[in-house]
Point group: D2
Chain length 354, copies 4
């Protein structure tokens, strides 16, 4: 990596880990400790996360986001059931069928969500229809929300509450895919509790990797009457899917370091700031259209194809999306991270403006 | 871990990682690189493993042994099929149903194997019976062997060849669970090729964690006519089970470091040496019975229960097994590792001899 | 059932079986015969179906349509793969998650299809996008078409050919859900071969129950290079899902009777004729809008809600669909069958016209 | 079937249906009725079965025994769990992996059972060991007993009670595979209630096909605190596995006819009587050894191979089992049924005695 400027904006997972994470691994790499999560590092996790979220919870460290989401769903949906989510959800589009695998074939049902956010009215109507269909449709057993959403927007807390209320009234458990939760918290300027369990979230995929770990997310279960019955199943689900590390301390050490001094929130705040910088410049560009409000660290923009080709020729990386017919240009995504520097964004802007 | 002596002999996964592994992670923790295995570290893996095994192969790094075994089986057995293994196999006893999960319900069929080693005659007979049963029994589609075995013994190469031949003649693909492969290679004084693909192994779970990594095994497919048809499925199986790391370099870096200068073989040789030291002393102990030949780094011994209770009171850790009725004493296992020192074994011996 | 007029138009499965079917069961209900399909009735099936379809094929009798569709898919799609179908497909909407269950979690991907018919262009585009997504999306391995479609329309043969060609060129196997195949054949005035294997269909769910059996469909595999590799798996898939009857003759006897003297085609021709009668009258009704061409035995019509309530009050049964917002009235379905008489349709028309 | 004597003793499923069953189908084959089990025949089932078993229960008619057993298990065992049964159980040996399929990969764990009957002591010990293994073994969630057993013996009621008590105390739900329940009831001279729910059975596979139906078993759930929570899942599990007949009346009609005038018990009593006749003669044969007590309609006997070959040459059918080494002769099974006549048994005896 001899480049002076980092030109890879394809995702927030092309980065290394925060230095603090690897330092924690080094410090913990001594002595024999019990394997499979019976170590004293893992022991501290629930307490630390409990402080962050200000409530009673259970924590299960998992190496990947796909596994974390899918394990969460497999705890709350039976194989014959269904989870409802918005049409843009990661669990529907980007996890290679992992939710179907972990749930042993539960159905992912989707609702259209123009800005990545499901509406309470649409959810209510879908639940009604699902009930009418009886055995012909797998019954909804879970609602899954993504915060920040896949289109870079963020749910207002009251919308999460409204969706959760409808879900709970109909017997559904509520999951949040928080792969970019820290970015949403930064945008909302709220506490971790406010956008999760206080708004009705029962089970959370707490994003670690995009916020700075090497490979560590946390599956967090907020203890309540809905979640207690399935709590004892989770260790079995984790082992059964090969996600229980024998040298388990190395998962826990990453998460402890991520929480230390709110490293995760600082990292996400920086990523959001870099995205805002990019957005401000793009808004001035005559050829750019931005279909979504940028409220986190993902910047979606429609740009002319020749401009995009030029960027790629200069070494910039980003992700292209299918663009609806008739639109002149191509929808692409630039993602910033804790590792993005102001000069990296400036170099991108300069190349766009050329 | 302020103890002067390391008293935990419960497993070879209670250890930290070899220092070389974490140093490699530190060195690789800079710059943006493509995610999901498209990085230049991962690129080197197949070449390096190809040199170690002296053949054409494909390598897929996976964080845990349970996932590696189960992914291998899911590539070679269809959901309606069966894998045959010996009765003591890890996939049957210790993986929390992961093989059934990854294969979507394939049947694990077992053969008795007094020393942890299946006999060719028993395999032949079982295959015959399986065919006779037609649709009433899931058809055998894979054979899984464990090397070193779960009872600390090692398969002679010619037995592996004999078993593989029978399997191949009957349309089965052959898997090896090599969680302790390095220990077997040390015992056999053979090349990695000789006890694997040259003896008929088609797909291998190459053990990394017990040999020194933090969390990295390798799923290795030896390229041949039997394995080519399923090769393209493996990346999908890995993603679908949440085992594709986004920051994938951190898996590959561990394996590269493990192969460097044959670190894995050195580590396993040391572990075996420590086990031999312990065995030599136990053989002199009047109350000890050793039901299996110790050919790797696992020492199984029946000892009086009072002695075992004393050991535990002094802080030693080991694993107890159900002991067949009528035997005076209790079957236990002591496991040594790259991290075990001579003085640790001596301290254990001293405590046993007290 | 003392009613003079049969008022149940909810589906073509509210009917009894054709008299010929039960007579065949009676005739075959004597003597011991080998179980599990090794009887002489079952032996005749492949020959009889081979004559009907004028080609080499394998036949597996199954009691329900849901099982037949799902078994077919499980033979041609791996758990990590995906089947693509139109948005209105029965496998997506009405089988309670059976396709996901039988395929162990394969993904049902859908394409919009305004008249129940997928377009070749849309299929081509979807396949392209699926490939681009790599491991993030389950790879398409099968195409499933419904003939007649779920909206009562019928695919022209050339469209089936075009779709099959695209599928085959991209490595997909082609399934047809032929729950109402006889109705389509009647509409197209073609041979069974022309709208199936000659148009590229590899595996067919041959509808029996709606055409007159008690509970018997046929899973038909047309023998070709794409289908040969999975043929031997099917008996295992059937047994494993509990669909192999021990007294298997009673499935085969139904199908033999259904083929005898083209009973199935006669039954379907009658059902179509009854639907046409109803359509002709509805077209004259000022309050009726018919969104789809009626080409089989299903009549979809938007009618004023008060009229529909009146019909139900008079004892008529039909199925209501969610109606797009802004449309005045409600979309409903009337289905005719071999068991519908002219006077039954006339009674319905009279009630509608009141 | 022009033979004067019926020589097929391979199983009790080589028979036709009882005449009463087909007559009931004929009588019910008229009029439109609601599909998918909403008909008035199905409505009567719970009441009728409630009278037979003298308790509150739910009934679900299913066409095959394999599906009935597997559906029952899928209701009471989660995919990550395990069902414990005896080593000879049908669910372990003869259902082609259906229990693993329906439960999405739950583990079938077995206990040795010399006479087909599990012992309470062995069950207690196995449960203890299973708990000790924690996440390494799928947790036991169900006990499955077979009555009559696979070796033709019958559990005394008090043994069932003892086993159920242990199971319930440890949180397991208790299933009975009653494919030959009527034969056991005849042997025990007890009421249906006494050998099922009164002895602790929670969910029952009520055997219909071997007792006289064409293809109809009943999945019976005895309503209690353990079974209430999963009751609502069963209709979904049935639909999802393709076992919900659209013309559902034809399943219910069979079961109603089987219960009418205790036809099932009369049929089973006759089958048992025919078996006793055969046993009495075999006991006098010098070359015959009978390893199990014949308490139902299955007769297991070791006979010289030449004698067996002769029987087959004369057209008799029976089933051969693998025989333990060193035993002179071959273990075979003769099964009698409602359809076996005294003269059929006499012809067999005569051929054996030749």
């Amino acid at each position: 990596m001899s480049e002076d400027v980092r030109k890879n904006f394809a995702s927030d997972n092309v980065t290394p880990a925060s230095a603090e994470i690897l330092e924690a691994l080094m410090r913990g790499n001594q002595g024999n400790v019990s394997s499979y999560g019976e170590d004293h590092y893992t022991e501290q996790l629930a307490k630390k996360f409990g402080e962050v979220f200000e409530t009673e919870l259970a924590v299960f460290p998992i190496a990947t986001g796909t596994a974390t989401n899918s394990l969460a769903l497999s705890a709350i949906v039976r194989p014959y059931g269904s989870v409802i989510c918005d049409h843009s959800a990661h669990i529907e589009n980007d996890e290679g069928g992992a939710p179907e695998f972990f749930t042993s074939g539960a159905k992912i049902s989707t609702l259209p969500s123009p800005q990545g956010r499901m509406s309470p009215e649409a959810l209510q109507e879908a639940i009604k229809r699902n009930k009418e269909k009886g055995v012909l449709s797998p019954p909804f057993q879970a609602l899954s929300l993504t915060q920040s959403t896949e289109w870079g927007t963020v749910y207002p807390i009251k919308t999460i509450s409204a969706l959760s209320d409808i879900a709970h009234q109909n017997g559904l458990t509520v999951h949040m895919d928080g792969a970019r939760l820290g970015n949403a918290i930064n945008h909302l300027n709220c506490s971790p509790a406010e956008t999760t369990w206080k708004a009705g979230i029962d089970i959370l995929s707490f994003g670690g990797t995009k916020a700075g770990t090497m490979a560590a997310e946390a599956l967090i279960v907020f203890i309540n009457e809905r979640t207690k019955p399935f709590l004892s199943a989770i260790p079995h689900l984790i082992k059964r899917s090969g996600h229980l590390w024998s040298k388990h301390r190395f998962l826990s050490l990453q998460l402890l370091a991520l929480l230390e001094d709110t490293l995760w929130l600082k990292n996400c705040a920086h990523a959001n700031k870099m995205a805002k910088l990019l957005v401000a410049e793009l808004k001035r560009h005559p050829g750019a259209q931005m279909p979504f409000d940028c409220e986190s660290n993902e910047v979606f923009v429609v740009l002319p194809e020749t401009l995009l080709d030029n960027l790629e020729n200069e070494g910039f990386s980003f992700y292209r999306y299918p663009t609806p017919g008739g639109v002149p240009g191509k929808l692409v995504r630039f993602v910033t991270s804790f590792y993005t520097r102001t000069k990296d964004v400036e170099a991108l802007i300069e190349a766009i403006n050329k």
